[in-house]
């Protein structure tokens, strides 16, 4: 199993550009999450999904969109990039058993200039 994979690993965007961060898991997990981590800070939840076709906002959803058309994929879309979105983005997944550990992807480092 590859676990949770994310692409790209690094990206530099100009203000106003758009991009999609890809996240795929091959563990047949129902729960998937997107977090951002600013320097020296913990992780903040952007969006999450409890299954295909179901998504919900987390703590900091503004400026982002998600979709969950399959169990495996949970892409995060930035529509109009702003410098405040410079961060490291982590995708995570979790199986059906609640209150269990989350499995994290390697992260995407995004810089908006």
């Amino acid at each position: 199993n590859a676990g949770v994979t994310q692409t790209p690993k690094f990206r530099i965007l100009k203000i106003g550009q758009s991009m999609t961060l890809q996240c795929t898991q091959d563990m047949n997990h129902n729960y998937m999450y997107w977090y951002r981590q600013d320097p020296g800070m913990g992780l903040k939840l952007i969006y999450y999904s409890v299954g295909a076709g179901i998504t919900d906002k987390g703590e900091v959803p503004n400026g982002y969109n998600v979709s969950r058309s399959t169990t495996e994929d949970f892409p995060l879309r930035l529509e109009l990039a702003a410098p405040s979105q410079t961060s490291v983005y982590f995708c995570a997944s979790m199986g059906w058993k609640l209150s269990n550990e989350q499995f994290f992807g390697p992260g995407t480092r995004l810089t908006v200039l």
Binding site: Y33, G42, S99, N100, P106
Partner: protein
């Protein structure tokens, strides 16, 4: 508002020292508390604590939860330079969401 607060935010010790990291929380529908270690990439899972007073151990690391006082501690004994990392505490809020603390940056000097 749900929150998880870790202290200290930063800690520098010498190799061989023992350290205690703190995590307090105010979360609705508490289910469990998790500790993660984060080096230069994604967090890696250390412990999950659900019941008060039961210590979890893994080598030199141990952790305990106090659900009455709403806190947890992570102890690391005989620290090594490889223990240098950010340690994250997170609490399950309800059934679906983890709330993370801001992390403790631990530096072990040789």
């Amino acid at each position: 508002e749900d929150k998880v607060v870790q202290s200290p935010l930063s800690l520098v010790v010498h190799e061989g020292d023992t350290v205690t990291l703190n995590c307090s929380y105010e979360v609705t529908n508490f289910r469990s508390l998790l500790w993660y270690k984060q080096e230069k990439k994604a967090p890696t899972f250390l412990f999950m604590l659900t019941s008060s007073g039961i210590e979890k151990k893994s080598g030199r690391l141990s952790s305990i939860l106090d659900k009455k006082e709403l806190f947890s501690i992570l102890n690391i004994t005989a620290t090594q330079t490889g223990d240098s990392a950010i340690y994250l505490c997170a609490v399950w809020q309800g059934a679906q969401k983890l709330v993370f603390g801001q992390g403790t940056r631990l530096t072990i000097n040789p």
